[in-house]
């Protein structure tokens, strides 16, 4: 059976096993229809509320006249909500003329920032200026953690985006200090039930909820819950480190990683643990990640026939996890340095990918330098040679080399152990062996009647 046929069978098997839950889903949703408000409905609802206030205002008009209504709308109605997230989260509500109606500190840190200030009636620019100043003074925005998220919420998307862009520029200018520059993320949101629920559940702003949701959408390994405790700087580092561009977020400047050891040091830590020089490592790559409550660098590279995976503590530089995997694929990114490793001890060389070449495994000391030079895989000196593995299997099977046919040897990794997988036929039997490549012991053998 070829790959395609097998794939089709797998597809068929899975397709057949799918239960039908469509009716259950529809029933579930129609039962809780009151809760489900899709955006188009939401807008209608708002207009309806708008009508009521309109009618209410119209009654006022009878007494005060049209001017009164306009003054009401211009002066007291919330037009945009702006939120600033660093770790302190502050919400500012402004009217149509960008005059501040109220400033709400949303957490303990934010209370410190707004302490003693009254912005009511002042210009949004003035308020933002004062708040950023206070965050700098109180050490919330520093060289080590320089990111801020600006979120504008306005029913009129276009107006929201214009205000967002203006504020981002202003804040960026305010964060150009003598010692460091800031990093400003900005976005416009249209509030919806899901974001509202998330922000209520986790006690964060709608803005931060949307930012986290976008990062989660880009990287399925993250969950919303896991990212909630992170500061904006850490979120900014995560999204910029993995080179993901968040669709609805504009970014100016770059997040500070000065609190961490940096990509360079992380790579050095991994390489020195592996005992490999930077010049020998192929496709060296590091990116920041967040796992089990701490920031880490994930470092990956190839050397010889192995793929190395490291997790380095982003603050201490400690090696948290190291993995060395046999990489039996020749598919490698940019393997410029590959195949030049002639300094590997040669007497244990084997061509592990020898696949279908029958029993002509190139072993022995004479062939080694040639095979490494031509890009063949050379194997770590701590493994037994393919020839030795073959002899182990043959002597266990009690057959001589001249009696076997369709001999095949491959190196593989099973349950964390590097093994030689050996198949051959002899007489009416097919033999399968798995030999531990380090100890030479037989892990598994099968003898089957071959008809």
């Amino acid at each position: 059976m070829n790959n395609k046929e097998l794939e089709n069978k797998i597809k068929q098997a899975f397709s057949h096993s799918v239960p039908n839950v469509l009716d259950a889903v529809i029933e579930n949703r129609s039962n809780s229809k009151g809760k489900v408000i899709v955006m188009t409905q939401e807008k209608k609802k708002r207009t309806w509320i708008g009508y009521v206030s309109g009618i209410a205002a119209a009654l006022v008009v009878l007494v005060v006249g049209i001017m009164g209504f306009n003054i009401y709308n211009n002066e007291y109605k919330v037009d945009s909500t702006v939120s600033l997230d660093v770790n302190p989260s502050i919400q500012i509500k402004v009217n149509q003329n960008e005059r501040v109606l109220e400033v709400n500190p949303l957490n303990g840190d934010a209370e410190k920032v707004v302490e003693g200030m009254d912005f009511k009636g002042s210009d949004l620019d003035v308020a933002v200026n004062a708040l950023i100043g206070s965050m700098l003074r109180n050490g919330y925005i520093t060289e080590l953690s320089n990111s801020i998220l600006v979120t504008v919420n306005n029913d009129d998307m276009e107006k929201g985006i214009a205000l967002q862009e203006k504020l981002a520029q202003e804040i960026n200018a305010l964060l150009q200090t003598d010692t460091f520059s800031g990093a400003v993320l900005s976005q416009t949101v249209v509030e919806n039930t899901e974001l509202k629920n998330l922000s209520d559940t986790y006690g964060i702003t709608i803005g931060k909820a949307q930012l986290i949701q976008q990062i989660v959408n880009q990287n399925p390994l993250y969950t919303f819950e896991k990212l909630v405790p992170l500061s904006i700087n850490e979120l900014n580092l995560l999204s910029s480190s993995s080179n993901t561009t968040l669709e609805n977020v504009d970014s100016i400047g770059s997040a500070s990683d000065k609190n961490y050891i940096g990509v360079q040091k992380a790579q050095e830590a991994a390489l020195s643990h592996a005992g490999i020089s930077a010049d020998d490592a192929v496709a060296l790559h590091a990116e920041m990640d967040y796992e089990d409550g701490i920031m880490i660098y994930e470092v990956e590279f190839y050397y010889d026939v192995y793929e190395y995976d490291y997790e380095i503590d982003a603050k201490s530089g400690a090696v948290l996890k190291s993995e060395k995997d046999f990489d039996d694929d020749a598919v490698r990114p940019e393997n410029g340095n590959n195949g030049t490793s002639t300094d590997i001890p040669s007497n244990n060389n084997t061509s592990a990918d020898n696949g279908n070449s029958g029993n002509s495994t190139n072993t022995g000391s004479g062939t080694s330098s040639g095979s490494t030079g031509s890009g063949n895989s050379s194997v770590n000196a701590s493994y037994i040679s393919a020839e030795k593995a073959k002899q182990t299997a043959l002597s266990h099977a009690g057959v001589s080399e001249s009696d076997i046919r369709e001999y095949d040897i491959e190196m593989d990794r099973e349950d964390g152990i590097v093994v030689y997988e050996i198949n051959f036929k002899s007489g009416n039997f097919e033999f399968d062996y798995e030999i531990n490549a380090e100890t030479g012991s037989i892990i598994k053998y099968e003898k089957e009647f071959d008809d």
Binding site: N3, P19, V25, V38, D327, D329, V331
Partner: protein, 194 residues
């Protein structure tokens, strides 16, 4: 191997009708029941299979299938990943599965044997399907199974799978090939036993 990689990435496209799926999701956002039905029809196999490949339990996978479409129904209006509808849906599945796995840990009673999967609820599973499904659950590692399902069932390219599962492309390719090899080996063994 390189040759194999090139042919396999070209041969199978991702779920082809991205534009259609985009339209359907927008339709769902506008309360279009027909769009929802069609979206379910087009994507439920991928959703369920991926969930099953992670959870190894038919009952839990069915829960995720249901929750996923409830979630799609509720959040279609926030859909912005135009051009990548399947990646969006698969992300939802993945998050629901992770939640399910977390919930499992909290459950006091020990888990029933994961590998004992009952397909009896569904009449269309043949004896051959059953053998292959059980083999996928028992013979393949978690990662191998997820890769096989994303490629063979949902039609994702290896490159896309590398992104979805945050793996190197070379790792995905080698795991995929090893997985098919394992399955094939077990199938011939099964035939010989019979």
């Amino acid at each position: 191997m390189l040759f194999l990689c090139l042919t396999s990435t070209n041969e199978y496209g991702p779920v082809k009708d991205n534009d259609l799926l985009d339209e359907l999701i927008i339709g769902v956002a506008n309360n279009d029941k027909e769009a929802f039905n069609l979206l379910y029809e087009k994507t439920s196999v991928s959703v369920y299979s991926f969930a099953l490949s992670i959870l190894k339990n038919a009952h839990d996978a069915e829960d995720v299938l249901q929750d996923c479409f409830i979630s799609i129904y509720d959040s279609a209006s926030e859909y912005r990943s135009y051009g990548k509808p399947m990646a969006w849906i698969i992300t939802i599945v993945k998050n629901l599965c992770l939640k399910k796995l977390r919930d499992r840990k909290k459950e006091p009673e020990p888990l029933s044997d994961n590998t004992d999967i009952s397909f009896s609820d569904n009449g269309s599973v043949t004896a051959e399907d059953k053998i292959l499904l059980t083999m996928c659950m028992n013979v393949l590692s978690d990662e191998e199974r997820q890769i096989v399902v994303l490629h063979a069932v949902s039609g994702f390219r290896h490159k896309e799978i590398a992104q979805i599962l945050s793996m190197q492309l070379s790792t995905v390719l080698s795991k995929y090939n090893r997985a098919l090899k394992k399955l094939r080996k077990n199938m011939t063994k099964g035939e010989q036993d019979v």
